[in-house]
Symmetry: C2
Subunit: 369 residues, 2 copies
């Protein structure tokens, strides 16, 4: 992972064709030029750089550093790999370092990326925190970049509501950048996850921020821009979201505020959806029929029609937070496999919800007796 | 005009079929039921009301009151009639009382209606006045309803920039409503026009405001909502604008402000265009190719290619304000018909502009020598 720059499509293409181990071998042995049909000057240049870097790289030391700091490497094909990143094609990361308690893949399925300006206004900070808290409270994961301003407000809002949040960094997962976010990052590692393409110890560069933005957009089904100047990193993330056909939303603000100008441009020129409440955002990003906000809906199967086991399991599922199948089984007095089966049926019937923190009752469910 | 309520489609249909004089005669003589094929209960009821009101009406006194207060009646078919109102169909007004110096029909061709909340915020008032001033300065007429809040700010902004502005009232053109706008209305009569369907002396009612709103929407090619609560008169005007296929624009604001909620709903649900500057509004409402704001453009014909007469006329056209053809002819030393012909050519070539105040140089025109 230290050979090529993060997101280098040339390396990405090689790995896609030959797999990571064979690509490494081809580079090391110099046989790369023999197997690649389209071996032009770019590949020659890439090869020179990669071999020089490989000579200096020490993957085992990186893995050891990861283990020491608490991060583990997630690569494509493993269960925790967020397959939505595959849509990045040759710019898909070779792997991600993950430091946290949340399951990366699962957390991102029901997630929203919230991005915006570092130099945010009190209005923007308030909106970001408020949206993130409501999203977290509704079982949505908040993804952002841990920068000053909007990013931090979004992470803090999610944490305040007891929800998981994921910070995607442009540096090693063990690097506190910005320094002022040392404690915030520590809390995210505790209650969510800090994620990066960069091996431990790597410091951020300007280009790494831009390359990182594609991950923030690609990890989530939707991106919300809260406040952004006309030229900004958030606009860059928004462009990635749109090129990946993800939902793109923007929060309007005063036209007299330069920090809303980027949002208004997205609304005017990029067909971003004007979003004024977290509920509207969930409406937009939620799976069709699963999160339509307007009217509270009841389960599709009446409680009377549930099996005895399902009823006991349902009684044991907490209304807030979340519980694992094992603790639910204990509380319900059912065995684990019956509990898992019942939870699946209850979820399908609209009674319960699986969140990154475990199973819980579906919010706003009116239980018919 | 006192027989039926303003905008009564039943009366409008009769007048469209029989003409105003014959309709009056049919009502007076009671022969209406004989000539109308579809003479149902509604028509019987209407007829009863109209005849009672006609007995009390005194059209000659209304005309005399108009003359005394300074208003004149403009009816369909006369040169000053704004034919864009014909699109209202059976809800087209039977006539409009006009009190002012501006030519109603001509002023409204290049106009924008600016509407919004009475209980506006300082933000909304600032935006309305700023937009109106820039529009007036660019030769656009600002139409509004002379209410407190956004309406008044729009009228004042236009007046401050020396542009004409038109107030459409829900009461007689001589009635100062709201009372606090006595002086504002007087100034609009001086420098623009105060317009109403109601004869002189008539006071506003709640229903008259809603009926009036269709005129604000119909007079102009585009309506801008600056600030509005979810349920508001401005939302009603916006609905009229959209049902008439006119441009509809809304100014975004903080999502924390209830007075921007109506604007955001228009953006989200009604496909209103998000507008953040007067230039964007002119882009939207301006005739295609005539007002595209992005880059300043020069005239399409080089100055050298102009005739001697056209060059002399061009030199005599003022850069701000406006001048009539006669005074331009005097300044240019050309005769009136040659001046009019030259002005037409210069307008087509992009050098000059006809505004309600006369001819002026086109703003931001870079004259090649």
């Amino acid at each position: 992972m230290r050979a090529a720059d993060a997101g280098d499509p040339l390396m990405g293409g090689l790995v896609a064709r030959h797999g990571p181990m064979k690509t490494l071998d081809l580079i090391r042995t110099g046989r790369l030029m023999d197997v690649e049909e389209d071996a032009g000057a770019r590949l020659t240049g890439g090869l020179r750089t990669w071999r020089a870097r490989l000579a200096a790289a020490d993957p085992e030391a990186d893995l050891a550093a990861g283990e020491r700091t608490g991060a583990h490497l997630v690569v494509p094909g493993t269960p925790e790999w967020p397959t939505q990143l595959d849509q990045l094609g040759d710019r898909r990361p070779l792997g991600l370092w993950v430091h946290g308690t949340a399951d990366l893949r699962y957390s991102c399925l029901r997630s929203v990326s919230i991005v915006g300006s570092r130099a945010a206004t009190p209005y923007g900070l308030h909106v970001a925190a408020d949206f993130a808290a409501t999203l977290a409270d509704s079982g949505w994961t908040v993804i952002s970049g841990a920068a000053l301003g909007i990013d931090a407000a979004a992470h803090r809002g999610a944490l305040a509501a007891g929800g998981p949040t994921i910070a995607v960094l442009a540096c090693g997962t063990d690097v506190a950048y910005p320094l002022a976010h040392h404690d915030l990052l520590a809390q995210i590692r505790e209650e969510g996850a800090v994620v990066s393409e960069c091996p431990p110890g790597v410091h951020p560069t300007r280009s790494r921020f831009l390359i990182r933005n594609r991950l923030i957009a690609a990890l989530s089904p939707g991106t919300l821009v809260v406040e952004a100047a006309l030229r900004s990193g958030a606009a860059n993330t928004a462009a990635h979201a749109q090129s990946l056909s993800r939902h793109l939303a923007a929060v309007p603000g005063p036209i007299t505020s330069e920090l809303s100008a980027g949002c208004h441009r997205l609304l005017r020129e990029r067909d971003a959806v004007c979003v004024t409440s977290p509920e509207e955002l969930i409406d937009l990003v939620g799976a069709i029929g699963d999160d339509l906000a307007p009217a509270p809906r009841g389960p599709v199967v009446a409680r009377d029609a549930l099996s005895e086991t399902a009823r006991r399991v349902l009684d044991a599922v907490p209304g807030t937070g979340g519980a694992g199948p094992a603790s639910i089984a204990v509380a319900a007095g059912t065995d684990l496999s019956a509990t898992l089966s019942a939870l699946g049926s209850l979820a399908a019937a609209g009674y319960v919800l699986r969140t990154p923190r475990g199973w819980r009752l579906k919010p706003r469910t009116t239980t018919p007796c």
